[in-house]
């Protein structure tokens, strides 16, 4: 069964997501990185489901949940980004240090 390949792919995608999350300065790209990490997790879930074949398809259900949550999260995230951009004419996280003491 092709499990290791899927896991390696997912790990790679997750690492790329973390890298993007930490390194990118544009908020839109940071959100994209988060989506990449969620997609990696979905690959893992589907892969394990394919191997284990649980009676009520937990893996697939969870994957659908993750997609749903991700869609909602992106909706809210992009709305926030839009408002920030309108107010500050910038989407650079280095300039967004409002939430400090």
């Amino acid at each position: 069964m092709l499990l290791n390949q899927f896991l390696i792919l997912a790990a790679a995608m997750f690492s790329l997501g973390i890298y993007g999350l930490l390194v990118r300065r544009n908020i839109v790209l940071i959100l994209l990185s988060v989506e990449l990490m969620l997609a990696a997790v979905n690959i893992n879930l589907i892969a394990f489901e394919a191997v284990l074949r649980t009676s009520d398809a937990i893996g697939q259900v969870f994957a659908v949940f993750v997609i749903t949550v991700a869609a909602a999260e992106v909706g809210i995230g992009l709305a926030i980004v839009l408002m920030i951009f309108r107010n500050r004419k910038s989407a650079n996280v280095d300039e967004l240090d409002l939430m400090r003491w």
Binding site: I18, L21, L22, V93, D94, L98, M99, R100, W101
Partner: protein, 675 residues
Amino acid sequence: MTWVVATEAEHAVEAGVTGGFWVDTAGIMLVLPLVAFLLILAVGKRMRYHGAEIAIGALAINSLWGTVLFVMNMTEGVLAQKTFEIARIGSDLVFELGWVVDGLSIMMYFLVNVVGLIVFIYAVGYMKDDIRVDWFFAAFSLFAGSMLILVGAPNLIQLIIGWEGVGLASYFLIGFYWEDMANVNAGNKAFMVNKVADVGLILGAIILGLAIGTFDFFEMSTAAFDHSEPLGAVAVVGGALLFFGAMGKSAQFPLHIWLPDAMAGPTPVSALMHAATMVTAGVYLMGRVFPLFEYLASDIRPWLVAIGAITLFAIGLLALVADDIKKVLAYSTVSQLGYMMTAVAAGGYTAGLFHLFTHAFFKALLFLGAGSVIHAVHSNNMSDMGGLRKAMPRTYWTFVVGSLSLAGILPLAGFWSKDEILVALGHEGYVAVMWIAIAGAFVTAFYMTRAVALTFHGEYKGHGHPHESPAIMTVPLVALAIPSILFGLFNVPGWEIPGIGNFSEWLAVRVVPMGDEHAEAIDLVLAGSGLFAALLGIALGWMVWGKDRATQAERDRFEIPALYPLLRNKYYVDDLADGITAGTMGPVARFVNWVNDYVIDSIVNGAAFLTKSLGSFVYGVVDQRGVDGVVHGLGAGADGAGSALRKLQTGRIQQYAAGFVGGALALIVLFVFVI
């Protein structure tokens, strides 16, 4: 809540009624006047008759109960007791409130409520234009209510509660016109003399109650009847102390001094106080604990009889020299209370209480008549009266009826009750006292003739034109005159009203037999002697005062040189009381003052100094340095920690994310490689 149906007791006198609606709800009588008291205080000022409606309404309902119970007791006999446990002291001493329904208490229910109702109605007219009418009726209701609590008491504790309530209400009412210092002093005197006696009552109650482990009258009577050992051991001391308490309320020599001064209150107060409430309490108490004296403490009886005999004769003489018509009646009351006490103390249970019963009606009548006269001439003094016979016919005739009844003229009520006392005294072997009582009857007739003559006959000596009082005052007079004439028939020796028995049978409905005998037939010699003495008194009195020479000197023509100053000064008993108080209290007071100045003050000062030093220490060291130091230290620590830690919060999202990832990695390493 417990029902004691007393007929189940071993020796109880047979009674046909031991329950039912009227008995079960008799407690209403004890509560209603107190409710009226509070209601009048709350809303009396705004009412049309200043709260008199409430007071009269309460007593009218009460009178219904009193009368129904009285009639039931006449025909069948009523005997029961209902109590509610309020508190328990230790394992067996119980404090209960409740009401007792037996021959004695039913007589008092009837008396207090009916006479009270009549006096209340009269008072509406008498107090019409007076000050503080709402307060008057409030205190009046309290007075009647306290008396009902007293007479309904199933145990000594409740009796003391009612007893003190009566004392308090009488204090309010005697000092009713408190703008005048003399009235306030009269109230104080009454209260204090009664307090002296109350000590006896309370001590007696404690001694008797602790001896048999209960304050309940039924159990106490039964114990006395059974000659109980523990009760017998303290019966003489306890009985004497109770009698001392009774001497205060019932104004026995030498504690009678408060009663004449108590005339300071409005006249309806005097009427109620002398008839149904207050002064009868002592005689009632003696009747209530009668088995104690009958079966255990008969040794002290001669002493009690002696006190009663002194009271009935010596104080009666004082009425001969008083000018204030209310004081004449007050001394007369003391004298009549002497009769009752003498009889009860001698063993004449029925005799003493029957006299209480009849006396209540004619004495209330006399006081209300005197009030009517005072209302008309605006003076208490007989030297301002005279010749009122024509101006006030209804008052005159009712007053004469009351006087004849009091003097003991056949066939009025007073004759039968006084005759019963004479018979009882003779029967119990107090022959000398019996003759004193006959002499007392002469004195009674003598001073009442004087009062009638000086008030209603001869020339009018006052000012203005007196008029007959309004109907609201004269109708009560008539209402009291009827029982003053007829109620003697309740207890005629050797005869009874068909179907209802006689007074001694009604009174005998008790939990134990009273050991008291009602005369079987009229003792013609004795009755004749009493009647003769009374007629002699009237005749002599009429000779001395009847034509009324109108001047002070001539009016006091009955002036026995040696006796007169003694009587005018009331045997110096008042002065003696003052002297005793001043003589003994002076040194005691000085000593107490010294103790206060030197001993107590230094203790207080020392304690204060210690407290102050301790306070300074606590404030300076413990509070300022210790407690405040801790508080300030905690504050500073939190402040410093906050300053240092807040630098971590940079607001840069990716630093937080880096920390998060680092933490996650650290946990992965921990779980995968270490554990």
